[in-house]
């Protein structure tokens, strides 16, 4: 536990020293949100949500989409240790692989949740996002989505040898899962085949949870299913990641 705490501390400090990636990742969805509010308002009204402002789709959608990209940072942190030649020093602490992974995962889960919360609040202030349902339910969805994505990216980190490979997969995944999961447009507007595939993405379940509390006055019971699916997926991804992860495997950071 001491090792995990030490790694968490140093990772947070490193992130604080070089926050520009996060700053940009905050900025991008904020630029995109206002551009699509009007279109999404019409779209949601066509779905039967007469009083929708469009923010109920755009803000959670951008949070889900860009949140996927932010989650790639956990892979960057791990690969960077290899580039800095500090990875073996961490390993020399005799920390078990799961503890090493936890040391990198925890700060990014916290940052990821913070990222989503800030974007939601800004969405509330500037594009009219209003919570109709359970606040606790929304928080649970945010936390579950963050944890699920970080677990997914750590599995990718364990699987791939270079940071370029992981970056490519994360960027592809963000667009693909975002699109299929209903982050860009509501799932109801996707082609039939996409609607069949959609529930196999974490984005879909995150969006389901958000819709339950932003478009409907959903309570905890209404977010139970998306929350449960995200938690279940997280457990599976964590187990796979721990099984796949080999701390002594050479990783290539940027040359």
């Amino acid at each position: 536990m001491d090792v995990v705490r030490a790694i968490v501390g140093v990772q947070l400090r490193i992130i604080r020293r070089d926050p520009w990636f996060l700053v940009i990742m905050f900025g991008m969805p904020l630029v995109v949100m206002p551009l699509f509010v009007k279109t999404m308002k019409l779209s949601l009204q066509a779905e039967g949500y007469a009083d929708a402002t469009g923010a109920e789709q755009v803000v959670p959608g951008q949070v889900v989409l860009f949140g996927f990209m932010v989650s790639g940072s956990v892979a960057f942190s791990v690969f960077r240790e290899h580039g800095w030649k500090t990875w073996d020093r961490l390993r020399a602490s005799a920390a078990p692989p799961a503890a090493l992974l936890a040391g990198f995962a925890i700060p990014w889960v916290v940052i990821h949740v913070f990222y989503q919360v800030v974007l939601m609040l800004v969405g509330g202030l500037f594009v009219g996002l209003r919570l109709k349902g359970s606040l606790i339910g929304e928080v649970l969805i945010l936390v579950a989505y963050s944890t699920c994505l970080i677990a997914l990216v750590l599995l990718l980190t364990a699987t791939f040898r270079t940071i370029n490979q992981v970056n490519a997969i994360v960027n592809l995944g963000a667009m693909l899962f975002g699109g299929l999961g209903g982050a860009l447009v509501p799932v109801e507007q996707l082609p039939g085949w996409a609607q069949v595939v959609s529930p196999f993405t974490p984005s879909y379940w995150a969006m389901e949870g958000h819709r339950a509390v932003f478009l409907e006055p959903g309570g905890l019971a209404d977010i139970a299913k998306p929350f449960g699916v995200l938690v279940g997926a997280t457990v599976v991804l964590v187990l796979l990641g721990i099984r796949k992860f080999r701390a002594d495997e050479a990783k290539e950071f940027f040359a």
Partner: protein, 303 residues
């Protein structure tokens, strides 16, 4: 403090270690001397728990380093060959982090960081980012991070590679001081002068095997060669080389490992002696010991 028995490790068909034994006592400095690929880094990586051996055991202060890695790791500090520090953190933050990682209590860490910085001449730089340090300063910090928790066993893998002369001298003084305080030290190097400066127990490793061990004087006494080293302006014919019992040790440079007078060499070379550039008597030094033990010269890495 450290007992290594029968350590073997292969990477596919390449045998990095072939049943190596090594003992290091408290306060002792052991210099692992060997060429690139001799097995030095593999050995210390296994001792540090970074690699698993195919066979063999490592015991650190009574703890089995494979079965009780957590306890054993707290007793050792390792500075790998490549400089591994956090450039975005300050010198102080680096030292305190590695102390934290090794389990040093929070209240003690600042004092430890300052003490190590002082010993390594980094006190004035404590609050400077590591990325802003010179190469030599980074190398010192890299070494400092390995012993900020005052390990009982310190392992330094070629700590002076890339370091300037002043840094080398400072690191050697520091290693000696660390050993004087009771830590066992394993120091791998290509540099024979460092081994002599450390007054270390020398272990010659080649092709995954430990071939000789002793103090400098013991090894020189056991393995010194009587002979001559001579250089010609041209390559010596194979037949003449065989007749002289000469070994090529450089470009047009040969060595005869027998008690031979210069006059006798000139006579044996006959007409070829016109091509002689230089003749030197082989001095009994570590270089000649290394040559005698491994049959090869120790290449020194140019920085």
């Amino acid at each position: 403090m450290l007992s290594v028995r029968g350590l073997a490790k292969a990477y596919g068909d390449v045998h990095a270690l072939r049943g190596a034994d090594l003992d290091v006592a408290e306060g002792q400095i052991v210099a692992l001397l060997g060429k690139n690929g001799a097995g030095k880094t593999t050995m210390i990586s296994i001792i540090a728990g970074l690699l698993r051996p195919d066979t063999g055991t490592v015991t650190i202060d009574g703890f089995d380093a494979q079965r009780d890695l957590d306890r054993a790791s707290k007793l050792l500090g390792i500075a790998p060959q490549d400089t591994g520090i956090y450039g975005v953190l300050t010198v102080r933050e680096n030292l305190e982090f590695f102390a934290n990682l090794a389990g040093v209590e929070k209240g003690v860490r600042p004092g430890r960081a300052e003490s190590v910085a002082e010993q390594l001449g980094l006190t004035e730089l404590l609050d400077r980012r590591a990325s802003k340090l010179s190469g030599g300063e980074q190398r010192r910090l890299h070494t400092g991070c390995a012993l900020v928790h005052t390990p009982k066993l310190l392992m330094l893998d070629e700590p002076t590679v890339g370091a300037d002369v002043a840094t080398r001298a400072q690191l050697i003084d520091f290693v000696r001081a660390t050993a004087n305080k009771g830590s066992a030290v394993i120091y791998t190097t290509h540099y024979l002068n460092e081994v002599e400066a450390l007054d270390a127990d020398i272990v010659i490793i080649d092709n995954g095997q430990i071939l000789a061990r002793g103090t400098r004087d013991e090894l020189v006494e056991q393995h010194r060669l009587q002979g001559l080293e001579f250089t010609l302006t041209e390559t010596l014919a194979e037949a003449t080389r065989a007749e002289l019992g000469a070994v090529e040790v450089g470009t047009h440079t040969y060595r005869i490992d027998q008690d031979l007078a210069v006059g006798a060499l000139v006579a044996k070379l006959g007409d070829r002696s016109d091509h002689l550039v230089s003749v030197e008597a082989v001095r009994p030094d570590l270089e000649s010991v290394f040559l005698a033990v491994t049959g090869d010269r120790l290449e020194e890495v140019s920085d």
